[in-house]
Subunit: 185 residues, 2 copies
């Protein structure tokens, strides 16, 4: 469901092809909503069926015709309604926390290695986030008006804060492990 509205959101800025959209997703909202290429094309087809998007074929030599999708008035209305509506509450899922929950099975050394690994991953992601504002791609030109840009940065800020909180958590656990504060059954 959410993917539909994410696509409508981008089409509301500018008409795009499925190929364009895949690149846009990968360079903008992928931190909180990764999208599969195959699913983007399917969703575009569905949006067209529903009357939320229209499509023009742009013939090309040698390559498949580009199918440029644009948002319709019905699509804009649907987008606006969804945006103003209640937050789509998605239940959180974190498989790594399952490992933590049952980590009592492991030795203290294994546990320390695990949390060191967590911390390393989180630091790497944070380093990546720091570079995001710099790499505004050619597709982002339609999203750069200050108001749009502001909300884009808000989602990035959310990601950074969440990741920092998680890193601090991992570091506090590492300290506790090192100072022997893990109960030994």
């Amino acid at each position: 469901m959410s993917l539909e509205f994410a696509i409508l959101g981008f089409l509301n800025y500018h008409p795009y092809t499925g190929y364009d959209l895949k690149k846009i997703f990968d360079t903008s909202i992928r931190h909180f909503w990764p999208a599969d290429q195959s699913q983007i094309y399917r969703t575009l087809a569905r949006l067209t069926e529903q009357g939320f998007a229209g499509m023009e074929k742009v013939p090309q030599e040698d390559r498949p015709d580009r199918k440029v999708y644009h948002i319709t008035e019905a699509g804009q209305a649907a987008l606006r309604e969804w945006l103003a509506g209640p937050p789509p509450l998605d239940e959180p899922r974190s498989a790594p926390l399952i490992q933590v929950f049952f980590a009592g099975q492991l030795t203290d050394e294994e546990i320390l290695a695990k949390f060191d690994g967590f911390a390393a991953i989180m630091r790497a992601i944070l380093a990546q986030y720091d570079q995001v504002p710099a790499q505004i791609g050619p597709y982002q030109q339609e999203i750069t008006p200050p108001r749009e840009h502001f909300f884009w940065l808000l989602t990035l800020d959310n990601g950074i804060r969440t990741m920092r909180a998680n890193l601090e958590w991992a570091e506090s656990v590492i300290e506790r492990i090192k100072s022997g504060k893990v109960p030994s059954e």
Copy 2:
């Protein structure tokens, strides 16, 4: 995949029925891994096929026979291997952040209402988390040994820190909106 190991993790503490497991999930790891009743039963069947769990029927009058599942040696080995292995990196998904990303479409009043709503939800969840350690159910008795309890609290701590970071984010956005710092296109 993760659900399999979560179930094995609990069966490693004690034999349980599908019904038991549903309750255990709902009172322990549901913050980061909600589980559907139907899926628990199906996964138990699969674990038995794979030889990771065994089952004994306990006949009852008037009600369906209880099927009590226990972990096998192969199951314990599989669990241990998974726990010690690399973190199962799940890509983050947050539908509410899609709303934020495209919130430029809305009026400043609507945006303020939206973030007030976010903050309210987060405060409610935080209040819930505060009560979690108090409500150790009858099923948790097998998980209360100090080492297991320690890791249980770590996952809770993670949830609290993450939610707090998100609440602080929402509050900082609310402040910025109120002081007119949202660019108006």
